[in-house]
């Protein structure tokens, strides 16, 4: 069967570069720089102390000796703090024209009108726009940028900050805590059900910069929340770095769905850390689509700490030319009757490298727990590669653990079957790939499912054969 030519992906809307228009741009990573960031942000002293401690830890830890090669990363060249010329606005009208234009093109205000209960938009290191529906505020829901939360809700922040992801977790977690800026803070009070999703969108515009946003979400007892994060950046020749951190707390009987559509540009190192602690009868659902970045190392972790806690993970990654996406997950079963269902899919083409890496750990107290892991990889050509590296660690005789993985190409029979219905070979293959990604698009709100399908179409255009 012949192969069609591969065309460079058209990323049009994501690649809009704005003139760099900032108040402050700080590059490098030293004690002085960390102090400077803290001063510029007018932070309380306890936060500065945490930052300095994190810097010490960062300097002690080494780069991982496994996974993709990160030697191109030179922290002296990364802008650790870039403050755009804009204050946080709650009215879209007041956002500076160039920034507004970018978010307009990305469809953020449009989505807010149609389907969101609140929006936060971060541009480089700072949040430029934040809004939340009035009725949620009345119910006591807090949705604000993380800097504001540090100043206005210090008690809650102190109680939860760094409690989910410890500073010494790995080198980039320490880096994050030293230079974090921006991000979102959500608190959903007991019993409150937020039916419509909240969304934060992270845009990195400055060349050679890092984005280090901190997201802290607490879903209190019996509450529910859906949260969506989107990420993108234009392409530059310099390396950009994303080392955000997401700390999630799902209390008793609470529910959280955390969805991510990540479309960083292909010069980005995406070294993000995400983790959730789930208490009794709580549920976490992760939905993730990874399309962008040059290198990703991203393994959201779920700690099931309470009886009957549940975790569902649905993820897809799509690696094209020059991309090395090392993604997966970690789950720890730390109580009775806990369960996790993991579904991961990956597609690699045109020299892209997809790696699924996971660790499922069932501790000895996790009696009667269940773990089901399924991963499927699709290779669209032989220049690409696809690796599956799952670890299972079982410490109890009372668990049901199963893991399945499949790897291969699109089956000739399936293509033949669809073509026999009068559909071209290329379209038949595209249909199969979209079908492959369907479990993920089904889990997203409609607008995002459409965005994800468009991303898949962009990536696939003329590329399969």
């Amino acid at each position: 069967m012949g192969k069609t030519q591969v065309r460079e992906t058209n990323r049009n809307i994501y690649d809009i570069k704005n003139k760099e228009n900032y108040d402050i741009k700080i590059s490098g990573l030293t004690k002085k720089i960390v102090e400077e960031i803290s001063t510029k942000k007018n932070e309380p002293k306890w936060m500065l102390e945490l930052r300095l401690k994190a810097l010490e830890v960062y300097n002690k830890l080494t780069l991982p000796d496994w996974g993709p090669d990160l030697s191109e990363l030179d922290m002296n060249k990364i802008a650790t703090y870039v403050r755009p010329k804009s204050k946080i606005n709650s009215s879209w009208k007041n956002v500076p024209e160039d920034i507004k234009d970018t978010f307009d093109k990305l469809g953020i205000p449009e989505a807010e009108k149609k389907s969101l209960a609140g929006v936060g938009a971060q541009y480089d290191s700072e949040i430029v726009y934040h809004s939340i529906k009035e009725e949620l505020v009345k119910q006591g829901v807090i949705y604000t940028d993380f800097d504001t939360a540090v100043r206005e809700y210090p008690d809650i922040v102190k109680k939860y900050f760094m409690k989910c992801v410890p500073v010494s977790d790995h080198k980039f977690a320490a880096l994050h805590y030293a230079v974090w800026s921006g991000g979102s803070f959500v608190y959903v009070p007991k019993g409150i059900k937020v039916d419509i999703p909240l969304q934060s969108y992270f845009r990195l515009n400055a060349k050679g910069a890092g984005q280090f946003e901190h997201t802290l979400i607490i879903v209190d007892e019996g509450a529910t929340l859906q949260f969506i994060e989107g990420c993108s950046a234009p392409k530059y020749n310099e390396t950009n770095l994303h080392a955000g951190c997401v700390e999630l707390f799902v209390k008793e009987n609470a529910f959280l769905r955390y969805s991510t559509i990540e479309n960083w540009s292909k010069n980005m190192l995406n070294l993000n850390t995400k983790r959730v602690i789930v208490e009794k009868n709580g549920t976490i659902e992760w939905v993730t689509g990874s399309f962008g970045s040059k290198i990703s190392m991203l393994y959201p972790m779920s700690v099931l700490n309470g009886e009957n806690a549940k975790c569902e993970f649905t993820g897809i990654s799509f690696a094209g030319k020059g991309q090395n996406l090392d993604t997966g997950l970690k789950v720890v079963h730390n109580a009775k009757n806990t369960s996790s269902v993991i579904n991961s899919k990956s597609i690699s083409k045109n020299g892209g490298i997809c790696t699924f890496r996971s660790n499922a750990h069932v501790k000895s107290n996790a009696k009667n727990s269940k773990v089901t892991v399924s991963c499927e990889s699709l290779m669209l050509d032989s220049m690409s590669s696809s690796d599956t590296i799952p670890v299972c660690n079982i410490e109890t005789d009372d668990t049901e653990f199963s893991h399945e993985a499949k790897i291969g190409k699109i089956s000739d029979e399936a293509i033949f079957y669809i073509m026999s219905r009068g559909i071209s070979e290329e379209e038949a293959k595209a249909m199969i790939v979209r079908g492959f990604a369907e479990p993920i698009s089904k889990a997203l709100p409609l607008e995002y499912a459409v965005e994800m399908n468009n991303l898949i179409n962009l990536e696939l255009e003329g590329s399969i054969g």
């Binding site: 990889s377 690796d387 670890v391 190409k409």
Partner: protein, 351 residues
Amino acid sequence: MEYILNHTPLKTSNNYGINNIKLDINIPTVRNYDNFLIMSTEVDKLEIINLDVIKENKNLTSKIGIEVKQNYGIDIIVPKKVEMKEPIILEFNLDEDSIALVENINIVYEENAKADFIIKYISIDDDEQFHYLKQITKASSNSKGSITIINMLNENSNSFIAIENNIEDNANIEYNLIELGGKNKISNYYAKLKGNMSKNVVKNVYVGNNNNIIDINYNIEIYGQNAKCKIESQGAIKDNCKKNFKGTIDFKEGAKKSTGSENENCILLSNTARAKSLPMLLCHEEDVEGEHGVSSGKIDDDKLFYIMTRGISINEAKRLIIKAHFSDIIKNIKDENTQSEIENKVDKLLQ
């Protein structure tokens, strides 16, 4: 002395504790060894060369990562077109006079040769013994055979088994690795499927108890087209046994139309036993089919219940189910006496 051994072909996070195995062991002084038997009704069809490893002062090294002075070595060649009707049995005994055996066994299947080998390691007494084998197989085109390696050392011993083989066009080699003895059982299996239509199956049975450490590291690389490979591992662990299973199928670019599958099943019979698995699939070729499955944990409740309704106690029912998992592999071994020796040993270990 502490050793860090048996590294996986690709690393994952060090926090997961599966990239290698740390072992604190004493390697005894290696003296001359001659406590073995080769049994075959057609031995004259084979070409057997005893290697003078002592005189040459050779050290044994392997992918496991330890280097030890060698005290035995043998080459066995199955000449072109020779078909052995009965299995060739090699039996190595360890006792107080020969507490250490460090040997290499090279098996060459010439073109169109057929032969089955059974290699056994047996402790005659309960002294601490040390065994380190490197077994290399070269399977020339159109050859076929099976190699069964059985570790039945005593509870106090250390067992290291490293296997390397090279499989050419249309050759078909099957391995049965039966690990029933030794407090530390470390094994490394590496196969290179160079030939088109080459086939390699490796099956493994293990039982671990007390404070046993079992570290299994298999890696099959596929280069040829239309090649087939399969890894199957069945085990049961109890007491404080720690088991790591690391199985890798690596499809190299050009391995078109090749298939590989991997299946691991480990039953835990105590709440203090620990089972880690890492079934890797590495793929650099589009036109292949690879799959793996792992199941770990308890015995299926429905199966247990069904057997118990027949008036059988829960422990006996568990033993029956585990033995049923093992029996498909044990039945493959081409010698009935050996099959029953293994079954008896499994029975004892599961008591």
